[in-house]
Amino acid sequence: MGSVTFFIISTSGALLLAVIVFVVWRHCSDKRKRQSATDELPPNEESEAKANPEAKAAEEACRKAEAQLQQLAEERQRRAAEEMARQEAEVVRLADGQRLAEENARVEAEAKAREDGQRQARAEASAREAEARRQAEAEATARAEATANAEAEALEQARLKAVPEVKRQAEKREAEEKAAAEAEDARRKAEAEIRAQAEAKTKAEVGGDAGRVPAGYAFSNSKPGKSRKRERKKRDSNLRERPLEIRVTAHPDHHGFCTFSILAKRPTQSPPELNVRCGNEGVALIEYNEAWYEAAATDDLMAWLSGVVFTDKRKGDSRYSWQLSSRPLHVLAVQQGFGNLVSTTRLCVARKHLILCRADFVRRVQHVLDEVGCHPVESRGEDFGAPSGWVFLWPVVPFQPRPPVEGDDILNALRPQPELDLVLEGGIWLHDSTWLVGYPPRITISGVRPVDQLVHINGMPAVESGNGSYSTPGYDKPGDYSVWCAGKTRRYSIAEPQAKCDRWEPHTYHGGSVCGALVTTSRDASQLPVTVPASNPVLIGSVPGQVFFCPPQVGTEWTGFVPFPVVWALPADPLRCDRSVRKVVLVTRLTPKVSSARVERPRKTDSSCWLWCKSIRDCRRKGLALSPRDEEVEALWRAYLVRAGGRLRSWTKHGE
């Protein structure tokens, strides 16, 4: 728009300029004509022209106007030229900028291409190097294996030739270890003594309370370590970053049926129950023991066995995840701390396992089991508790180790390795490596034991029993033990705790507290239980005033504790009872106690002494029979009657 306006203005200016130039040219040409006419005139006429001032003034004004017009035209031309120059400069500048940007882009693209090329070259170089290194390592490994095999063969031959020497060396090594342990103990003791002496010396030198070392303080030689809190935090954070473990557990019964479930690792200080997410479904994890959760029973087990991820539903930092990697088979075996069979890494020689595998995988599994010397085991499916699409084999006991096969990763778990390991299992395990006396661990060997290597328990050669366990005389007595075989060592302790427990009050009621079968009450321990007919609820003791009314109780008998020895059980209201049915029942043969002190008349008729006397007297007035009925009982009853009657008479007389 601006350029159009500028074009119109410049065009109109140019036209105006042309008109002005034309007018000026006509005026000049007329002037020249007139000048030439004047020049041609005679001197009279020239003088006449000079003598005309008006014509001169007009000519002067015309000359000035011409000069102004010319100046104005020049000015306009100059402006137009400047404007054109400015536009051209702007165009040039824009063109330069675009060219510069294009140039920069081109340079960057060239640099990027050059960098990519370099990176690719580097990657290719590193790949070539890695390949070369791998080849070199493979060659080195092959050479090392060949060398090791050769050496092993040589060693084996040498070992077979020199069994006694090996034994002697083993004994020597054991003795050296023992000596080293003793030396270590001696060194610790010496250090402790030196430290104690130094402390004593320091105390003696310093003296007084000012420099006294606080009680319980111990000098430490160790460097300041990391904060435990920080370490724990770091450990927890690591735990959260990595998925926690999931294991499969199985509970087979005698009928061949087996129950399967899922165990998820339980983080420290986690709640006893946890809701987690598995895909879009919620799963409840319930406490199995201190270290494991058990997933609530579900139909999704068959899907979970092929691999599953649980994620914590909770919000915040303490969120966990659990993962069971995808696999077509699981190997389960008995492990310490679990009551049932639990997932393990691989088969072990001469141990009992359960294999849970996909139904389409069972042929390959059985083929490998044949290789490792297992007796044929029938696979069992859903009818025996296996999840849908899965079968299990139980019990699987391999007898031959087999080397792993390259590219057969998952089935290599079914090929036991020959490494020897000492296994402590069974017994009554208390904690750490401690077993209860009388119930020691069963010491067995996993893997292949060298023929010339014996199992030693505390240095004594152990004897193998028929079931594959090893023992020595007294290996199950209280104490600490060390089991050794072919360089492997396991330690265990046998403890003999006492069945002493403190009494506490788990159940407390108004009548006392109960702990097990032990009762704590405020009742006098000398109180004896009494059982009397429910129809005779008034209990009389040998001392006047010893009277007890039994609280109501269901049944024909009343049993309870009474605060005195009961002699007689009387009906509740003797004067209104049926004498053919109700009797005076003897409970204990005790003669009435005689008191030498003068007895004051009771002020109230419901006092215990008054009731004691009145109850006996009322039974006499009613004429109730005695039970049992014999002369001794009648004599005893008369003695009580005399005592009660005499007391009543004395009170009456005293009262009159």
Partner: protein, 308 residues
């Protein structure tokens, strides 16, 4: 390994969590043993039996989150033909050996059961004989244990004395509710709902959440959280239903199996003989043996039963 070993393990460790107990039972009880087969997990039944025999306390004051072993005690019970001492509480092999050494003046009996530790009974003529044995063996002595336990207990109608406090009914998605139905001929749990429980003016409701049972008693529109057995007998007492039956000739007390007496009453009845009640599946009853009539009457009075 068996049930005795479970008690040894518990006695050696003295206290622990529920998870430890469960793990120990599964570890020590033979897998697949027909004796422990049943609808419930074996550790639940073994826990119950060990608790009723007075060996271990579970989830009570002093062991709120697990279990704790009671002190070893010789619990005395009077029988018609003498006195019987039952060995309760902590038990270890060395204690058994010690008792066998010193119990020369009394008769020793050892009874093996399916889902509980062996019952050790010492039978003598006088209580002093058993007291002497207990003293020499270094265990505590509890004379007249059944009556002593029953004498501490309040009647079931006294909810406050049974530590039953007013509590709102629970709710939630995973809540399963059943109602205790008590008729003249039967007593059973029937399906119900939270709405029914809230609407009901009276009744006993069992709420199951996360495999845990809680019992709530509705009484005049108010809700009390109670122990299951206390609730059962409370309802029976209010409706005057007779649940106990006593056989005087056989000295047996018979109760419906769904109405087992409260734990301490049950323990007192068991300590009369030392044997767990016999369960009759056909009649759905539990039979306690060697129960003197006075003890049966005392138990019936606590349970607010009108007659035997």
């Amino acid at each position: 390994m068996g049930n005795n070993e479970i008690l040894y393990w518990l006695s050696a460790n003295r206290a622990g969590s529920w998870a430890q107990f469960r793990s120990a039972v599964e570890d020590l009880v033979p897998r697949g043993d027909e004796a422990v087969a049943g609808p419930d997990r074996p550790y639940l039944r073994i826990r119950f039996n060990i608790q009723q025999l007075g060996h271990v306390e579970f989830f009570e004051h002093g062991c709120e989150n697990g279990w704790r072993v009671a002190p070893p005690v010789l619990a005395l019970s009077e029988q018609s033909n003498g006195v019987v001492g039952i060995l309760c509480g902590a038990r270890l092999p060395n204690l058994i050996r010690k008792i066998e050494e010193v119990a020369d003046s009394v008769r020793r009996e050892q009874h093996t059961g399916a889902e509980h530790p062996d019952v050790f009974r010492l039978v003598g003529d006088h209580a002093s004989d058993l007291e002497d044995v207990a003293q020499r063996a270094g265990v505590l002595f509890q004379p007249y244990a059944p009556l002593s336990i029953l004498s501490c207990l309040p009647r079931v109608l006294d909810l406050k004395a049974w530590n039953s406090n007013e509590s709102p009914l629970p709710f939630g998605r995973d809540t399963n509710i059943t109602r205790f139905e008590l008729t003249k001929r039967s007593c059973r749990w029937v399906e119900s709902s939270v709405e029914d429980a809230k609407r009901a003016r009276d009744g006993l409701f069992r709420v199951t959440r996360f495999q845990r049972r809680e019992h709530y008693l509705r009484l005049n529109g108010r809700t009390f959280r109670v122990r299951s057995q206390v609730g059962n007998y409370f309802v029976a007492a209010v409706r005057r239903r007779q649940l106990l039956r006593y056989d005087r000739t056989a000295c047996q007390l018979i109760v419906p199996d769904v109405c087992r007496p409260p734990m301490l009453v049950d323990r007192a009845l068991i300590l009369c003989s030392g044997f767990l009640p016999r369960h009759d599946k056909e009649t759905s009853t539990l039979t306690y043996s060697d129960i003197p009539e006075g003890i049966a009457g005392k138990a019936a009075s606590i349970l607010c039963q009108d007659r035997l």
